[in-house]
């Protein structure tokens, strides 16, 4: 299947809704922490999982590049950069905000995924409307 501009437009509209839902939905109860969980094991799991997921993402991006025309791929990748920067900055500000002391809950992983997806869709819309040279 070829990823056309229309397909990308539709996909990012759906993604924007999904991102907004993740941000505004009620957070689920936190997972119980296991007291005797070895921190080195946790670090190892995180490291291995990151390598596996990053490799999978590289494969996925290669597939995207083959399936999408260059214009669409550039739109997606430029928007992804916006999403990464927005997510990092949002997390830093939201997590360290003085409003946390006044009752604003810390961001959940769902919130951050929501911010990332929504900002990806917003970045896509921005470049689609203003152009990749904007």
């Amino acid at each position: 299947m070829r990823i056309s501009t229309r397909f990308a437009d539709t996909s990012f509209s759906v993604l924007a809704l999904a991102g907004a839902y993740l941000i505004f939905k009620e957070p689920s109860s936190a997972a119980l922490a296991i007291d005797n969980w070895n921190p080195w094991l946790e670090l190892g799991c995180a490291f291995i999982l990151t390598i596996i997921m990053a490799s999978y993402a590289v494969w996925g991006a290669r597939l995207d590049r083959r399936c999408a025309e260059d214009y669409v791929f550039q739109l997606i990748t430029n928007a992804a950069l916006i999403a990464v920067i927005t997510s990092l900055m949002s997390h830093a500000i939201w997590d360290m905000s003085f409003l946390n002391e006044r009752g604003l809950p810390k961001p959940t992983s769902g919130d951050m995924v929501g911010v990332m997806i929504l900002s990806w869709a917003m970045g896509y819309t921005f470049y689609r409307v203003r152009g990749l040279n904007a």
Partner: protein, 67 residues
């Protein structure tokens, strides 16, 4: 990057959709190139040049040339 793709397309009396089908890209991509919202990749630029039987630099104006 400025280009004269719109003029070349008009000379052949092609619509954006027709040019897009010749180049195997979407009509939106052609529109984005013509309006300067997107600079095509090198392979696509070569494809455009071959289609119109011109050199790339005759179609695309390198605004940074001479700097």
């Amino acid at each position: 990057m400025k280009n004269n793709l719109k003029i070349l397309r008009a000379m052949r009396d092609w619509s954006q959709a027709e040019l897009a089908s010749h180049l195997d890209v979407s009509r939106q991509a052609i529109n984005a190139i013509e309006t300067g919202k997107y600079d095509p990749s090198l392979p696509l630029a070569f494809k455009i040049a071959r289609l119109f039987e011109q050199n790339i630099e005759d179609i695309f104006d390198d605004e940074f040339a001479g700097e």
